[in-house]
Symmetry: C2
Subunit: 385 residues, 2 copies
C-alpha cells in the first residue's frame, strides 16, 4: 500500500476538472446488486446509460455478450461493436429510428429489441419487419406509477390491440416497466411498496397478455431504488438498473446507496478565495458537475456536490454551494459550526456528484483509481446520440 | 424560397435529438451587439465559451485572429489551432495550468493572457515567466458586484501587491470584471445601473493602478446583460460577452434578447402520448436540453424549454414541463386555455433552451439552418477541458 501523500501526488498530475472512478467501490456496488437479484431469482440487464463505457459494462454484465439496456442508439452501436449481443433500447421507438435499429441487428447480429406503448408504433414496427424480412422484437411499455410513458397495467384493450398490431410481422417479447416515482421517496417501507407496486403492475399486464393467448416471455422492471428495496419479485424475469453502479448524492438521499459507496467524483483545483465571504473557488463549475440540482428537493440539499479531500473523505459540511460555468464556489452549509479547511491556491479536492448520469455525461473518460488511490487506467466513455 | 413543407422535410432527415442553429438570427444578434459596442466606443472580445465553434467564432470576432475570450484551455488550444492569436483565458489561473499556457503561446505564437486575483497566483505566474523566459500577460480580476471572484475595486493594497508580485517577471496588462449579478435582474433601469456599476468599479481599479505608476492598458468588462444595457462605457477598453450570440430563454427573461432572437434549438421527435394527462412525450430529455432550470427563478418558468413547430414558431403555452434522461414531457403551462397541438408519433418539434451554454455542451455539432430553413452546413463544436 502506498502512502496518502503518494496517492495524492498521482492525482496532482491530472488536468482538472476530470472524472475519477473508484474501482473497488464500483465492483462492490455491482456485487451487492447481483447478490440481491440472485436472491430474488431474477436475471440482471444492467442499464448502461450511466456509465456509457465498455470497461464498466464488462464488470456489470453477467456475460461479455449481455444482456444490457441502453437509452440511445449511439450506445446500442457502441456496445454492439464491443461485442454485446443482447440489447434492449428502453426508450419508446420513433418510426424514423427503425432503419438504424435494423442496421445494428444486421451488422453485429445483435438481438436489439425495442419498446413501445401505442398501436401506431406497433404498426410501424410490424410494417418495417415485413419490408425488411426481420421480425423486430418489441416490449410493451406499461405504466407502473403514472411517472411517464406506458399503457395502464389493467388496460386489456390497449395491450391486446398493440400485440395484435405487432403480430403482423414483428414479435411480442413481453412487458417493460420503470417505477420512476420511486426517486421521490426516502423511506425504506415506501420504497419496498413502490417495488411491490411495480412488480404487481408488471404481472397484471403479463397475465392479461397470456390469458389472451399471447406470449410474454420477458417481464422487465427496474429502477435503482426499487431494485434495491424489492423483497419479492415473483413473476418478474429481469431487472434493469444503472445509476447504482456509481451511486450519487441523490440516490444516497433516497437511501439506495450510502455516501461511502459513491464511486464517482470530480477532481478540481483551488483557483482562489473570497475570505470575506467564506468561499473557496475551484475550477469545477456546472460544466464539470452538470446542472443537476436533484438534491434540492430532498431532505439534505447538497448544492452542486459534497467536497472531499484527495483520499475521498468528505470535509465536514463543505459543499459546492453555487456554480458558474467553470467556477465552483465551496462553502460550509448554512448554520454549520465546522471550520473551512485551509486549501491554498493549487490544492486539489474531489467532489461527489448529485447525479452520476448527468455528471458523467459532461466528460469523455474515467480516470480509474486502484486500491492504493493511484490512477491505474483511463477508460473512455461515449456521449451523444 | 422553398416551401415550409420542403424545409420541414429537410429537418425530417436528421437524427434526433440534435442541435439546430439559425444562421440569420446568429448573424443579427452579433451585428446588434457590434453596433451597440461601436456606438459606445469600446472594442469587442467575444466570449467563445457558449459556441465553442470556430465557424461561429469567425462570425463573432472582429478579425480571424481575434481578439477572443475562452473559459477552458481546451478552447484556447482549439481556437489557437484555428488561427486565433489574441486570447484571454478568463478563469482564475491555477499554477499547474501555466505550463500548458506556455505551450500554447509557443506553439501557435498566440498572445494568451491569464486572470488572477491573489499574490500567490501572481508569484506563481512571475516565477514561471522567469524560468521560461516568457513574460506572461496577466489581468487582475476585480469584483464588480460580490458575485464570485476578484479583489474589491477600491482595495489599493491588494491591487498594488498583486501588481508588484507580477512585476518580478510577468506583465500587468490590466483589470477584468464580470457583473454576474446582472443575471438576476429583469428591469432595464436596474440593468443599466448594473452596467454603470461594473464600469465604475473597473475605472476605480484602473485609476488606483495608474496612480501607483503602474500600466493598465486593458480595462475589460462584460456580461450579456450589461453589454446590452450599458449606456456609457467611458474608461472601458473592451467588452466580453458570449451567450447573446445564440440567446436563450433565460436571457429573454432578463431582457437581453427577445424570444424571437433565439438562434439555438433542439430538434426532437414525438415518441408517445399520455392523453389522460395531456402529455406528449419526445426523445429530447435533459441529456439533450441539459439540466439547466434557470428560468425557474424568473417571472416565467419555461420548464426545460419552449416548444416550437419545425419552422421555429412557438406553440401557444407548450413547454417541456418535465424531463428524464432521454424523455421530454411536453404539456401546456398550468392554467393555460390553449389546446394541445395534434402531434402524432413521429412528428418533429423544435425546443428553445433555457441556457444556450448548457444545452450546447450536450452536443458535438450544429446543424446550421439557412434562410429557407434548410440544413445548409454542419459545424463541429468542442467540449471538455
Amino acid at each position: 500500500m502506498i502512502s496518502s501523500a503518494e496517492s495524492s501526488s498521482a492525482l496532482s498530475a491530472l488536468p482538472t476538472p476530470c472524472l475519477l472512478l473508484n474501482e473497488a467501490r464500483l465492483r462492490a456496488n455491482i456485487a451487492r446488486m447481483r447478490r440481491n437479484l440472485d436472491r430474488l431469482g431474477v436475471s440482471f440487464r444492467p442499464h448502461l446509460k450511466t456509465a456509457k463505457s465498455l470497461d464498466v459494462a464488462h464488470l456489470a454484465m453477467t456475460s461479455p455478450s449481455g444482456p444490457a439496456t441502453v437509452s440511445t442508439l449511439r450506445e446500442a452501436e457502441y456496445f454492439a461493436e464491443g461485442g454485446v449481443r443482447d440489447i434492449l433500447y428502453a426508450v419508446g421507438i420513433a418510426p424514423t429510428k427503425i432503419d438504424r435499429i435494423g442496421a445494428i441487428r444486421r451488422r453485429w447480429g445483435t438481438d436489439l429489441s425495442v419498446v413501445l406503448d401505442s398501436v401506431e408504433q406497433a404498426e410501424a414496427v410490424a410494417a418495417w419487419s415485413r419490408r425488411a424480412g426481420d421480425a423486430l422484437p418489441a416490449l410493451i411499455e406499461v405504466d407502473a406509477d403514472g411517472h411517464r410513458s406506458g399503457v395502464k397495467p389493467g388496460d386489456a384493450e390497449a395491450l391486446v390491440a398493440i400485440s395484435g398490431a405487432l403480430g403482423a410481422g414483428a414479435v411480442l417479447r413481453g412487458v417493460l416497466l420503470h417505477a420512476g416515482d420511486s426517486y421521490g421517496l426516502d423511506d425504506p417501507e415506501a420504497l419496498a411498496e413502490a417495488a411491490e407496486n411495480e412488480r404487481a403492475a408488471a404481472v397484471a399486464a403479463a397475465t392479461i397478455l397470456r390469458e389472451a393467448g399471447l406470449p410474454c416471455p420477458i417481464v422487465s422492471v427496474g429502477s435503482t431504488p426499487t431494485a434495491r428495496f424489492a423483497r419479492d419479485l415473483t413473476g418478474v424475469t429481469e431487472v434493469r438498473a444503472g445509476v447504482f453502479m456509481f451511486g450519487d448524492l441523490f440516490q444516497a438521499g433516497v437511501g439506495s446507496v450510502a455516501v461511502d459507496d459513491i464511486a464517482l467524483s470530480v477532481l478540481a483545483t483551488v483557483i482562489g478565495h473570497r475570505r470575506d465571504k467564506g468561499w473557496i473557488i475551484v475550477d469545477a463549475g456546472w460544466m464539470a458537475m452538470s446542472r443537476d440540482r436533484g438534491t434540492a428537493r430532498q431532505a439534505v440539499d447538497q448544492g452542486y456536490g459534497v467536497v472531499c479531500d484527495c483520499a475521498g473523505r468528505p470535509y465536514p459540511d463543505l459543499i459546492v454551494s453555487d456554480a458558474n460555468q467553470e467556477h465552483g464556489i465551496l462553502a460550509l452549509r448554512q448554520g454549520s459550526s465546522a471550520r473551512l479547511p485551509d486549501l491554498p491556491v493549487g490544492s486539489r479536492v474531489r467532489i461527489l456528484p448529485n447525479h452520476a448520469c448527468a455528471t458523467g455525461a459532461q466528460h469523455d473518460r474515467y480516470h480509474v483509481l486502484g486500491a492504493a488511490g493511484q490512477v491505474r487506467a483511463v477508460w473512455p466513455r461515449i456521449n451523444g446520440w
